[in-house]
Amino acid sequence: MSSSRPESANSQTAPLVAIKDLSIGFTGKKGTTLAVLRNIDLQIYAGESVGLVGESGSGKSTLALAAMGYLKRGLRVLNGQACFREDDMFTQTRDQLEQVRGGHIALIPQNSGQSLTPTRRIGRQVAEALRLHSSLPAVQHSSRVVELLEQVRLPDPLTLVNRYPHELSGGQQQRVAIAMALAGEPSVLLLDEPTTGLDVTTQAHILELLSELARQSGMAMVYVSHDLGAIARVCDSVAVMYAGEIVLQGSARQILLDPIHPYARGLLASIPRLKDATLPRALDGRPPAPGETGNACAFAERCALAKPRCTSERPPLQSLASGEAVRCHFYAEAKNLALAGDKQRSARILADTGDATLELKEITISYAKPGLMDQVLGRKPSSTPTVDDINFRLLQGETLGLVGESGSGKSTILKSIAGLLSPLSGDIIWQNEDALPASVEKRSPQQLRRVQIIFQNPDESLNPRQTVAEILAQPLVLYFGLKGAALKARTVELLDRVRLAGHYMDRLPSQLSGGEKQRVAVARAFAAEPDLVLCDEVTSALDVSVQAAVLDLLDDLRRQSHTSYVFVSHDLAVVRALSDRVAVLYQGRLCEIGPAQSVYTHPSHPYTDVLLGAVLEPDPDTTPTLIADDVLELSPPDRGCAFQRRCPMSLGEQCNTQTPPWQHSENGHAIRCHLPLFNTSPLKH
């Protein structure tokens, strides 16, 4: 890609993309027109990176696609234009649109790694993008493919062109998708959640690559994301969307450090951060459905500053001298709203009095099934186990956070504690007594009742055909044999504990919002009056503002009932918000374990260091430190340290051949590394 592009010369004069008073909507069931985007004005100039931020349903993806002249089925333009270089995309013919799309405006969709065709080699897929969108003669395509792959910093492009997508890591697949988008040398790149679903370390690398591409080529970038941390890394300016409107627009610094719209402030306060001493604060309520707002401010119902005027008069988007634009009558007062929660985090260091709720002893788990030959010969499968040598104790009432990237075995360990997956070897000791039977079928009802699990996605974990009352009745009938009025009373009580009103009993899950569904799932787990609750990524399917509410709820329930939690998450800030102790996993092996305070402030294993360094905080003044490469690790190494292939501090031979020893400090902090404890890293930030 050349840096001398014609349009970068007159970049500041005419915008590349100009959205003018655009409203998009659909016809509702009763024949009324319902708007999903309302009066959007947005200009994007060459070389500029714009972030569109908002929660699910805010219309951010619809807006980005509208810039390409694309509308999802059923939507239509109600008003306004979406222009690319003076041409309204919605009046273009099909041929004209095909010229622009892919060639001038390229889209990198969410999960684009998964949109690669699994049966075609990488080189051919990138070449196809060239054939469609590039003017290069066909003979030059194969050399250009290699150039593009180099440009997105993929290692060894010459061999990579012959690989299939499944042979690449998630981050590498995303890079291939970026290379394909670059094939037509676009002047505008639309990125729909470009790093959502990738591991933290990979996210940081991809964002760094993207911002460098933007700098080199003068491309305009539009980032659509719910993740303010990602936006903070790459965007010059940000537009915050709420219920189909832009409510706040300004430079990234203004919006991330001290936004002047109440919604943006609430959003920032709901994000858990590594350094905060408080729990994130939830935004109550939910955004209005299309057509629900009428002539009021869309945020009025949830706004702490709302006054009568807010419900009778829709605020206009006012441009301020500071360069910001805000859709709020009382923006001057917004600065009084706090940017962080006020509830202290309750992380404690519990004294080990000996009464552990749970103890894992040398747990080893393997997914490998013995092949036919192995079965005949009675051999065990020879591959290295997925999860190996896991030891930890969980004290009564304690929360242990399990963190690690995808494939680190976090959920696998949870499943084996719950009895859904039998370990290859090792014991699960319950309250210093005997080992729990490995599988659910062999556990007694009391043993089953004491361990409950909450799953990641409530859409999957709640039966769509059961009402809330029926869902909660399952454990109540099974464990306590409740009937009739007693059952109903207990159901109402449980709903109340998770802050839902009694009338929710008759609802089906499809009639609840995401956060409400997860609260029902929490209520179902607590219906059993458990001693231990296993939380498997319980907030990762939720919007940030809702996530904060669920975290707050879990924290309250723990205080009330002295339940122990094992809290699994890939999000280090979320784990920080709730955990007393933290265990870091890599490739199914424990790297580091210790009091949360100590692990987060003095990370001692190189991998913990890498993980913490890569966390994207919604703060333009922090930069992630990129240490280890994101490479695909299909299986852990046979010998030595699990992290040997990526470790920036590797000692070489010793790390590759000898399993590192555990090193303990006095405060219970331990790492498994050949380097001395608290002395591992010259890369400290």
Binding site: G419, I453, E460, Q466, A469, L478, G484
Partner: protein, 296 residues
């Protein structure tokens, strides 16, 4: 389950039945289909009271007589009134298939759900047996049983129910596989519910719709099978009026007295078409694409 939960479940079932019925009627094809089915069911009940002639009345003078003002659809080769016999001719078929279809769907459905949940070697072995069964022509299997045990309603109902339950196993098993992988089933296992409880509370409500649509389709195929058996002489014995039997009897005179065939053919095909249209509308109302045969 408790009183409160049951009454709530009943309430929501009742309202959803109303909603689904309304949805079916709101589609032209569904309205026509449901109308045809309802008319046939009504006629099957009231036909003995409204049939103008006794189905056994022989009249040699009216042999193969053309349709006229007295005998609207003419007379057959024994001089019996074709219209009356057509009115009455669906009763046996609807009775037999009306019992055999639910039985087939229930046993096939339960077996399929159970195998889908259990998996493993049992599932593997039984499904291969199912495959083997499905690879044989139905008429052959049917005739073997009928020749062994004889004809009559007492044999036909279990025979049809058995053979038509086998393909339902596949459908129910496939639909179950889609549900079993979901976390709410895992959650129920982790709580320690037994297999039967999981089938009843977690799986069945999610497979039910697919089974309903499958049942409607099975019904129309079973009607055709029943009529075919009668046509071949293995179903209803004369003089009981039955469409398949009537077509078989009148077939020889088709070139000069086609009315003998016309009545039962129209009756049979209108019922089958009605069932098919209703099944299609039901699938759409329930949000199931029949091409996929899987619950949403």
């Amino acid at each position: 389950m408790t009183g409160a939960a049951v009454s709530m479940a009943r309430h929501s079932t009742f309202t959803s039945v109303i909603r689904v019925a309304g949805d079916i009627v709101s589609r032209p094809s569904g309205a026509i289909g449901l109308f045809l089915v309802v008319v046939h069911l009504l006629l099957a009940i009231i036909s003995p009271y409204i049939a103008p002639f006794d189905y056994r009345d022989l009249d040699p003078l009216k042999m193969l007589q053309q349709p006229g003002p007295v005998h609207w659809l003419g007379n057959d080769h024994l001089g019996r009134d074709v219209f009356s016999r057509t009115l009455l001719g669906g009763r046996e078929a609807l009775l037999v298939t009306g019992i055999a279809t639910p039985v087939a769907v229930l046993w096939g459905g339960f077996t399929g759900i159970f195998l889908g949940l259990a998996g493993g070697r049992l599932d593997e072995i039984l499904m291969r047996i199912v495959d083997a069964f499905l690879s044989l022509p139905w008429i052959l299997k049917m005739l073997v049983l009928i020749v062994t045990f004889g004809t009559g309603v007492g044999v036909l109902i279990p025979t049809l129910a058995f053979f038509y339950g086998i393909p339902v196993i596949r459908i129910a098993r496939a639909a179950t596989h889609d549900v079993v992988a979901r976390d709410f089933v895992e959650a129920a296992r982790a709580r320690g519910h037994g297999k039967l409880s999981i089938i009843w509370h977690e799986l069945f409500p999610n497979v039910r719709d697919a089974l309903l649509v499958e049942g409607a389709m099975r019904w129309s195929w079973m009607l055709l099978a029943f009529s075919s058996l009668s046509f071949l002489g293995f179903g209803v014995s004369p003089p009981t009026p039955d469409w398949g039997l009537m077509i078989a009897d009148a077939r020889g005179f088709m070139s000069f007295a086609p009315w003998g065939v016309l009545g039962p053919v129209i009756a049979l095909s209108s019922l089958i078409i009605g069932i098919n249209l209703t099944a299609d509308a039901l699938a759409k109302a329930l949000g199931i694409d029949r091409a996929q045969k899987a619950p949403i």
